[in-house]
């Protein structure tokens, strides 16, 4: 057994802890381990692992994002263990359990060729899933037509329930009424501030590096804290531990190269990827217009697994985005850019004599965000977070487990907001530490209840903030039932907030700061109610209602003066809505239809949001309040061929209509109109009473893969915005200049992969 010198005390503690709390398991065996791909030794998340005895099913589970599975409370005896996963041949093996406490296994699954007469699982969606949760696999990302070869998480998320994007530029995602800064995005457990690129189809997470994604559109458990809207928890691939592979791709939008392989065969691997956008170079040629937007991202992961009980990795991502909004002759161009760095290490350990699992995450995350106008620095912000997190998963009984952990986060923040909030230069340090406990309880295959609480200690104010969370899932018919009902409720608090100017539709500048108004931190309460129904093996429908109450939201006070500087006030947010969907998945066809209804209202707490025509403005719909959204995906994949189509419709977003421009003659003194010009102002209606035109767009793609010796070449033809809808991206009220989203954009993409 290899020793783990770095964590002996923690493992000892975990072992003792488990021994105390799980006496009921003393006479039973725990079967645990990892599911991996046989050709690469990479973990396979979502694999269904089932133990069957002479009288049928004994117990089953699904492997998690690390490919880890654990089945508790198995009596000694002879069983058949089977593991099945979409696109893979089912593995079956006889398992004889004796008097040992724990059996640790590695189950290797082989990708199944279609022509083989083998049991192939075509789809096995998770059951007993909390409301708001969606799991995304690389196969899902492939189902959307994307302008580069291979899918991307950003493009896929825009079709997810409750997600609204501001357009095809800016990289801003709003989840069920929340703002982008309220989304917690984790990559292998480490924070990444803004991983979505300035061209909205792309993120730092292309399909080729993604292993598994869990998204929580609210109602998330106690192990996630620090954000109030949603969680996007991305697990990346480890890289091939057995053989080398490479990839190069080229499209009018971007170029990409990727390499992976073993550093120590079977044990240590690397995965490296670099992508660079090309659209600023290709758009003038292909579209006849300038699209001055560019980005690049670099990804490197090193991963090691030692026997079948220890796995450690280091993940590093750097992204850089830059864009310019051309505002016409009379106003200077606006130039904005941001850079992300996320470097994190993660270890998973299974102590040999303990049923407790230990996860350690530590990392550093950095973002730098700048906005310039006419070459002069107008706003800048940066934030650096160093964090460490220890998570334990302990078995309480055959049908219950406890998750608990400790975390500490240190943030260094700096900003120069002279032309935004009137703050010239400021620096801040924010330190938080805390922990959480979460219990998962099952009653047969009908009930599952998760209850937890997160506690965050702020040494600055010596205050402790508690965030209780509760969710329950009821499947009246058990595992064979067709209906599933779920509910979740919880309190959430955001320690570090991103302040952006919601008045400025084209700006993507976000300044990170703790409690920007009077030190008050944003808080939210979530309530989710869900229902799902299986209509046969391939067809599923569902609906989910949600209610959010948000307090202490920093929002800019509307100003009629034509300038960026503003002050902030606190608002309360109320979000309510429902998402309904139908999904059909029967290879080679896949179809998805979703509808979202949402209503977001902000109320200025102290009534000072604005005084308009003699009346105070207290309530308004913020500019991301998309009332209705319809998403449809169609995909056909067979052999070397794949055809995708995706259509989305969204009703118009709120905006503030103008009445015109004039000069204010401020009679705070005897203002001499003969020598003084006045102060130019844009005269608005009351804020956000107007609605932009509806948005809809159809994208298609068709691709074929060719085998060429030891490599394969994929050729893809496609078009973005097939019927050339003039979707509005941005309207500059100062110049009346309209900027549309991408027009019809046909493309050809190539991807070459070595095998």
């Amino acid at each position: 057994m290899p020793s783990c010198k770095c964590l002996p005390l923690l493992l000892l503690f975990a072992t003792l802890y488990t021994g105390r709390v799980a006496p009921a398991l003393a006479q039973n065996v725990t079967v645990r381990g990892f599911t991996v791909d046989v050709t690469s030794r990479e973990p396979l998340p979502g694999v269904s692992v089932v133990l069957s005895g002479a009288e049928g099913l004994v117990r089953g589970t699904a492997s998690d994002k690390n490919g880890y599975f654990q089945i508790n409370g198995i009596s000694a005896g002879i069983y058949v263990l089977s593991a099945s996963f979409i696109g893979y041949g089912t593995v079956r093996d006889t398992l004889t359990l004796g008097d040992e406490r724990i059996r640790t296994l590695t189950i290797a699954l082989a990708e199944a060729a279609e022509e083989l007469d083998e049991v192939v699982v075509t789809e096995k969606r998770e059951i007993m899933q909390n409301p708001g949760v969606q799991t995304i696999r690389p196969e899902d990302l492939k189902r959307l037509p994307t302008s580069a070869l291979g899918g991307d998480l950003a493009a896929y998320l825009q079709f997810q329930r409750g997600v609204v994007s501001a357009g095809d530029r800016g990289g801003q995602l709003f989840v069920r009424g929340g703002t982008p800064d309220q989304n917690l995005v984790l990559v292998d457990g480490n924070l990444i501030y803004q991983p979505f690129h300035i061209i909205g189809f792309f993120s730092a997470f292309p399909q080729d590096i993604v292993s598994y994604v869990e998204t929580y559109a609210g109602g998330f458990g106690a192990r996630y804290s620090g954000r109030i809207s949603s969680v996007i928890d991305v697990s990346t691939r480890d890289g091939n531990k057995l053989s080398y592979a490479g990839m190069a791709a080229l499209s009018p939008f971007l170029s990409a190269v990727q390499a992976e392989g073993p550093l120590q065969r079977g044990k240590v691997s690397f995965l490296a990827s670099f992508r660079r956008s090309l659209i600023s170079e290709t758009a003038p040629v292909l579209l006849g217009q300038d699209l001055p937007f560019s980005f690049n991202d670099a990804f490197l992961k090193l991963h090691a697994s030692v026997d079948n009980r220890y796995r450690c990795g280091v993940t590093a991502i750097r992204t850089a985005d830059r864009g310019t909004t051309v505002r016409g002759d009379s106003l200077p161009d606006a130039d904005f850019r941001w850079t992300n760095v996320s470097v994190g290490g993660q270890c998973l350990a299974l102590p040999s004599e303990s049923r407790t699992r230990l996860d350690l995450n530590t990392g550093v995350s950095y973002i730098s965000n700048r906005f310039k106008e006419a070459g002069d620095l107008e706003r800048a912000s940066h934030s650096l977070q160093a964090s460490m997190e220890l998570n334990f998963t302990s078995v309480l009984s055959p049908s219950s487990e406890a998750l608990w952990g400790l975390f500490t986060r240190m943030n260094w923040i700096g900003y120069d907001l002279r032309e935004f909030l009137g703050i010239r230069v400021a620096n801040d340090v924010l330190f938080n530490t805390g922990g959480y406990v979460e219990g998962h309880f099952r009653r047969g295959d009908k009930w599952k209840v998760n209850a937890g609480i997160a506690a965050t200690f702020d040494p600055g104010s010596y205050s402790v903030w508690l965030e209780p969370r509760l969710s329950a899932i009821w499947r009246p018919g058990g595992g064979q039932g067709v209906n599933e009902f779920s509910a979740a409720i919880g309190l959430y608090r955001q320690t570090l907030e991103g302040v952006s100017d919601e008045r400025d539709a084209g700006a993507v500048f976000v300044a990170w700061m703790p409690g920007p108004v009077n030190g008050k931190e944003a808080q939210a309460a979530h309530l989710l109610l869900g229902w799902k129904r299986d209509l046969g093996a391939d067809f599923r429908i569902g609906a989910e209602g949600y209610l959010k109450r948000i307090t202490n939201l920093p929002v800019p006070i509307y100003s009629a003066i034509a300038r960026f500087t503003t002050t902030l006030t606190l608002a309360k947010g109320s979000v309510r809505g429902v998402d309904a969907w139908a999904e059909y998945d029967h290879a080679p066809f896949y179809a998805y239809l979703g509808y979202g209804l949402s209503h977001t209202i902000y109320t200025a707490q102290d009534g000072v949001f604005g005084e308009w025509f003699g009346e105070p403005v207290r309530q308004y719909t913020p500019p991301h309040d998309r009332r209705h959204q319809v998403s449809a995906i169609l995909s056909y994949a067979r052999g070397a061929y794949r055809v995708n189509a995706a259509w989305q419709f969204g009703t118009g977003l709120p905006f503030t209509r103008t009445l015109g421009f004039d000069e204010l003659i401020p009679l705070q003194s005897l203002y001499d109109v003969r020598s003084r010009y006045g102060i130019t102002r844009v005269v608005y209606e009351k804020p956000y009473l107007g609605r932009l035109p509806a948005y809809h767009r159809l994208d298609i793609s068709a691709g074929r893969t060719f085998d060429i010796g030891r490599a394969k070449l994929t050729l893809q033809l496609g078009a973005i915005n097939l019927y050339d809808r003039a979707n509005l991206l941005y309207f500059d009220l100062f110049t009346f200049r309209r900027l549309n989203q991408l027009p019809l954009f046909p493309y050809v993409s190539f991807k070459l992969e070595s095998r």
């Binding site: 009629a560 209509r657 705070q668 109109v673 010009y677 932009l692 035109p693 019927y723 003039a726």
Partner: protein
């Protein structure tokens, strides 16, 4: 391709295709106008009528769709009606170029009367009109200037007491200054505002004149150190207005919000009216010399303040 097995099914399929096609066509062109549909605001009016001045200037600009004005010609006729007599005066347009941009200041040399109400009208050729009704304040007494004259109060900031006005629109000190390097014939006028220090006190207004705060501004205006500033004369200017005059303490953001401060119908802005009194204040020179500011000219003795002044100075 779907095959139609019956006429009815074919028709339904064709209808569906038509709907789809119409949707696509509809999708290809999207007009968008961010302007409000309820646009009954025609002109922006700004400035004030001055009962004391011989010529009136008021800014009149059409509400426009561009950030900066472009037209040197505007479709506007301006008149002022004395609501007491019914007399109507037509005003003249004059295009000023300020900061490189054309602005329209309409003017009239017709005298205004204290205490009268006037109707300011801007007409467009299509009949649209913007109207402001404005009341000229009454004439008011000379403000009382309080300066300490003994050892207990001679260093206290002077106090101005203004009576007989509904609101103080402006209170300024106008300094006649020169640099010590300049000959005495050089005169530079620098105005410093005290409107923000005016406080109501019963039916009067008082302002404590902390003139030491003006020294940096004088030095900046002359571009010399404060020790080289020589004050030659001080004049007080008070502008009285009716009570609907905007609160001078309103911040600019609030003032800029449409409709918060306005007396203009079918338009924007605010047209005020003032009566201005300019009062020479020789005793200020004496006070300035006492507190160490360089002055020149006759330094009159400070007379004994009134009982009210004594109390105000003492406080």
């Amino acid at each position: 391709m779907k095959r139609c097995s019956g006429i009815a099914r074919c028709e339904r399929f064709a209808a569906a295709l038509l709907v789809l096609g119409a949707t696509l066509v509809w999708g290809c062109s999207v007009d968008f106008d961010p302007r409000s549909e309820a646009r009954d605001l025609y002109f922006s009016v700004g400035g004030f009528l001055n009962a004391t001045a011989d010529t009136q200037f008021v800014r009149v600009m059409p509400l426009r769709d561009t950030l900066f004005p472009e037209d040197r010609q505007i479709d506007a006729e301006v008149s002022l009606e004395d609501l007491s007599t019914g007399e109507v005066t037509a005003w003249s347009d004059s295009v000023f170029t300020i900061a490189g941009k054309p602005v329209h200041n309409f003017w009239s040399a017709t005298p205004l009367a204290y205490g009268r109400q006037y109707r300011f009208e801007v007409h467009r050729s299509d009949g649209a009109q913007t109207v402001a009704t404005v009341s000229v304040p009454d004439s008011f007494p000379r403000p009382e200037l309080c300066v300490g004259n003994d050892s207990t109060n001679q260093y206290d900031p002077p106090v101005i007491v203004i009576t007989g006005v509904e609101r103080v629109a402006d209170l300024s000190l106008i300094y006649d200054v020169r640099s010590s390097a300049d000959p005495p014939t050089v005169h530079t006028l620098v105005a410093t505002r005290y409107s923000d220090l005016v406080e109501p006190l019963g039916f009067t207004y008082v302002a404590r004149m902390d003139v030491l705060r003006d020294l940096p501004r004088l030095s900046t205006a002359l571009r010399v150190p404060e020790r080289d500033v020589i004050v030659q004369n001080v004049t007080l200017q008070v502008a009285a207005a009716r009570e609907d005059w905007p609160d001078v303490k309103l911040d600019l953001e609030t003032l800029a919000l449409p409709g918060v401060v306005t007396n203009v119908q079918h338009g924007l802005g605010y047209l005020g009216a003032v009566a201005v009194k300019t009062v020479p204040w020789p005793e200020a020179l004496t006070y300035l010399s006492i507190i160490g500011v360089s002055v020149e000219g006759d330094l009159p003795p400070i007379s004994k303040p009134s009982e009210l002044c004594g109390k105000l100075l003492h406080n």
